[in-house]
Amino acid sequence: MPKRVLLANRGEIALRVQRSCRELGIETVAVYSEADRDALHVRNADAAVLIGPGPATQSYLVIDNIIEAARETGADAVHPGYGFLSENPAFAEACEAAGITFIGPPASAMQAMGDKVQARRLMESAGVPVVPGAEDIDPQNVGHARAEAERIGFPLLVKAASGGGGRGIRIVESIDELEDAMRVSGTEAAAAFGDATIFLEKYVSPARHVEVQVMADAHGNVRAFGERECSIQRRRQKLIEEAPSVAVDPDLRARLCDVAVTAARSCGYRNAGTVEFLLGEDGEFYFLEMNARLQVEHPVTEFVYGVDLVALQLAIAAGEPLPEDAGLPQPHGWAIEARINAENAYANFAPSFGIVHRVEPPLGPGVRFDSMLFDGLDVPVFYDSLLGKLIVWAEDRPAAIERLRRALQDLLVAGIDTNAPFHLALLDHPDYVSGAVDTGWLEREFEMPPPAEDDPSEVTALIAAALASGLGGGRGSSANGAAGAPGRGWALAGRSDALGARVRHAEGRGWRSGIGSS
């Protein structure tokens, strides 16, 4: 096992990795940007190194600074988390060159899976079903592209070989749209990834997004840990993930796992990875891509397979073999994860930034909350909107849905907006409850309902504001309510404040009651 692991990440995933490390007696080193000075992953680490300003391109994406931080603090291994440098082969190579263990796959496997054209070819030769398509597309040879498009059939997708996050993808409904789509996709991909290579793929729709967790050790053992269902997506961003999937029976699960293991073996994979599939309505499935990292949604697998995937990652990186019994044949119970994002569900999911005044995490049986939230957190504008993940486990899916609803109701985040109202509305939707969803369902069928007419929350809020602004009657007072978040304008209006105590702050920038009265 490593002795000191540097976490080349931030937010909830840095905390997640830290927790497993501490259970294993491994020290952790945090790296942080100027915007993350007060972050929990910094506070909880054994050592912490500032690596640059807020923008990720000047901090969390600067390989040299991170390697230097590892050297400085004597870290013998690096965990990349997800996003940032996690799938960057140059980073894995730089770690190895510096004599630091990279907790993830070899650079060669990342490269093979990072190029989607190369990955498709590799999978085809390994006998893994890929979406019908054409890889040898030359933007100059339109005649050939048209012939291939006719062979595949419409609608089809033009995709970028180096694409990711939905960029460089165009839907083509008919042959007339092909040339335009090829040009746009190629240009977009060249700008975003520096590679204009494109390919064609049949548009399998409607389809579910189903993915299989794999773990591979250095001794040739590859195990699959069942599937995750991730079809609830907006703009290709997953919002809810489940394990298992309502669409997968034990027979299909066995076949998916089998193919996922084959896919991992074919590229010499090591450590944690995820093989993504499209699952059509007819039960046919196709390889989509392989993510060479720990996924955001890994906790649902941990719940139903009773495993700590990060602990396994650390053991594999240390050269230990996978335990004999790793990877149960069937999942136990049902797990659902809701991504809690800093977004306003009632304002077209606009991002929400600012100070979190108060957090009350949901607790109780079968509830896990992996989150970067704490009282006083200033949500930085530089990174994605993921605040945390609320994950629940129960004996079956209906019970898991009820538990998630309860936990969402228990979650309180004051000061910024979260998408919790969206999740609550989703859990009420009959299609979600029955599981009749596909990757297009959310954007096609779901509309955020406005708050109920008889929702008593507004009345509660009005009364609370009136009480906080000075309760009629004037019962005693204390200085309690005057405690503001340090250095910020907002003061926490407590009972004493409600009773007329003046809101004042230690620092001179705060605002207080109206100008007219002073």
Partner: protein, 177 residues
Amino acid sequence: MAKRHRLLVGGEERTVVLDSAPGGGAETLVTIDEAEPIAIDVDAAELPGFVAFRIGGVTRRAYVARDGASFDVTVGSRRFQIQQVTGSGRGRGVVGGAEDAPGEISSPLAGVVVEVRVAPGDELEAGTTVLVLEAMKMQNEVLIPLEGTVTAVHVNARDSVEQGQLLIEYAPAEAEE
């Protein structure tokens, strides 16, 4: 003694009157707009930010953060931006005076400057709107807290500003107190 609060929520002005219950009981009478008064029993817990009360035994709780005349109220998974309407009934989203040092006006919120209404040399009365700031999809008027003459304007329309960022400097008028 009844106390009347004019509060803006969701673009609508609401009136909330708080009064002691007749007979001097522990309850508070609440009248919202023209509705029948309701008796509430306010929780005595002195936790900063928490407001809890019962209506006919049904518990209600909220988390309130206050910034001058603005209240950020969280009830369950919903969040409300509530503005106190001051005596003059100035327009919606008015942000009250700052605890800035005299001569400086800093930004009360992180947001985007929508409009700058003053220029250096302008002589202003206390309470004049100097600029309009959009934050959280609400327009907030930023007021000069004292009478004075603008000496410097540090922002332009469409600039993004941080909370606490210096917006305007002015020379306060002399001999006011």
